[in-house]
Symmetry: C2
Subunit: 314 residues, 2 copies
């Protein structure tokens, strides 16, 4: 059932022992939503905790430092920034069909939860902020840091067209509440580990242009992880690089998995719908940023993807 912010807050007020699920291969928005909401529920005296199928990258440590960890049997399950159950990753089977509430901003949400609060905002954290306000919880510095992180990371630091005046206004309110915008953005956007800096150089060198230079493809192989000392966790920042070259309309990043199959990320400008493109390969996402998994080698993937891009650009 589709619900609004008011109803969502009312639902949460009634509940206790709340388990919050975030999507696999977690990013700043899902973690910001999860830990932001968790802080708020704990402040209300409820028991709550956040789980994720994958290891949470170290840089997000400030989202949950000092957060008490409660052990309890969950009475209510919330998914945040999760468009489909399978995006929960390996833990999807455990919770499939049992999710009471989903707070999300993906137009592609499959309505898998009993209650869905869906607003097509730039970041799901915008909606979680409204829910927390409606809950009557004061947004303290910890909550503000969490939610600001989601806003900033899902908009490329307020860069993408998806960021609205409302996004900026909520960011300002979070900064009033103590969000450390300078530090958060430095961690998320300014700091390259030495291993990532090496990987980035290799990735940029791998860039090839297709379709009269309208498609750019970066490939990240297992060999490149070895050579740079980097790993898949550090590849998030590579995808935006693909569409930065003048004239490129579709940017593709193909990452090789240890088993030789791969994952592709798409970045586009307004003319091409990245979600539609990913859908052709059973993936999904946003109009300008999407992804899919491919059961084939990097070379086969590139050939197949470039061909499909050619059709989209016609």
């Amino acid at each position: 059932m589709r619900i609004d912010v008011k109803k969502c807050a009312a639902l949460l007020k009634e509940q206790d022992n709340i388990l919050i699920l975030t999507h696999a291969h977690p990013d700043g928005d899902t973690l910001g939503c999860g830990f932001g909401l968790c802080h708020a529920l704990l402040k209300m005296g409820k028991k709550a905790r956040v789980i994720n199928a994958d290891e949470i990258p170290k840089k997000y440590g400030y989202l949950y430092e000092d957060m008490p960890v409660y052990d309890f049997k969950e009475d209510f399950i919330v998914a945040v920034d999760v468009a489909t159950e399978n995006l929960l990753g390996p833990i999807a089977d455990l919770y499939s069909g049992r999710i009471d509430l989903c707070i999300d901003h993906h137009g592609t949400n499959t309505e898998f939860a009993e209650n869905l609060l869906l607003e097509k905002t730039a970041a799901a954290c915008e909606t979680v902020y409204k829910v927390i306000c409606e809950l009557g919880v004061e947004t303290d510095k910890r909550i503000a840091d969490c939610l600001y992180t989601g806003l900033s990371t899902d908009t490329g630091c307020f860069r993408y067209a998806s960021a609205t005046a409302e996004t900026y206004r909520i960011a300002a309110e979070l900064m009033d509440c103590g969000a450390d915008n300078g530090r958060i953005n430095r961690i998320m956007f300014e700091t390259k580990t030495k291993t990532y800096a090496k990987l980035e150089r290799l990735a940029i060198e791998s860039m090839q242009l297709y379709c009269r230079d309208r498609v750019a493809v970066i490939t990240v192989t297992q060999k490149m992880y070895e050579e740079s000392g980097s790993n898949e966790q550090e590849t998030e920042a590579l995808a935006p690089l693909t569409r930065q070259v003048e004239g490129v309309e579709i940017g593709i990043t193909i990452r090789e998995k240890p088993d030789g199959t791969c994952k592709a990320s798409f970045r586009t400008f307004e003319k091409v719908n990245a979600a539609e493109l990913a859908k052709c390969f059973n993936g999904g996402g946003h109009p300008q940023a999407s992804a899919c998994r491919l059961n084939c080698s990097v070379d086969e993937a590139r050939k197949m993807l470039v061909e499909k891009c050619g059709e989209f650009l016609k």
Copy 2:
């Protein structure tokens, strides 16, 4: 004399035939201030025009397309985002001692103008926005695009610690007035010309670390401009790259001039005051971003600068 926004607007209301000066080697903030204010004055029925000592990079074309160009003898001279007269470049001599009003945000402003409106905001465009509101001019899309450009470019797209909640709020208001944030940020931050992409690769390859990896130096030589087909106008985006490597506290970009002398840009984090550092070499700027000119070769400059950095890091 120091004045406030109200007094500044009152002064401008009384005047006509207004010449607006922007700083040499222009950036988005000085041009955003200049053209934003010019649009507003023209809407009031006044004659006004913006001049700059250097050629304005093409990407800023949208700031003044369709702006009528009036020829008149100036009765009132305004400098925007200009900390010292010599930053006007080759035209400084023409106007020295004759500047009636300066609207600026640099703590290092030398109070060279008859009237100075100085607010230590993230971007001078924040103050120009307040002046335009005080003038009673409605901020239309053209004005909003100009001012948003200044806000965004001077904060690294709202990334730096210098951006305040007020900066975000003004950005939101400008977006309400029609500022095309997606397009502007794409032009300013997402689009690399092919020549710049080549130059950037060469610049990153030139990066060397000093002082136990706490200082990173990039050098851009005339040979690199030749090899890449790029030029000095495209080097603005290089400086922020220097401080992105984990552990680096001072990032330096040294650009070789055609005559073999050079210009250095500094980027730092809170611990080191970049303006103080630049001051040692007769330069200036902001606490985290500054620059100076050096009458020596790139190699001599690097040696001298790294030595001074060593002292600053003690």
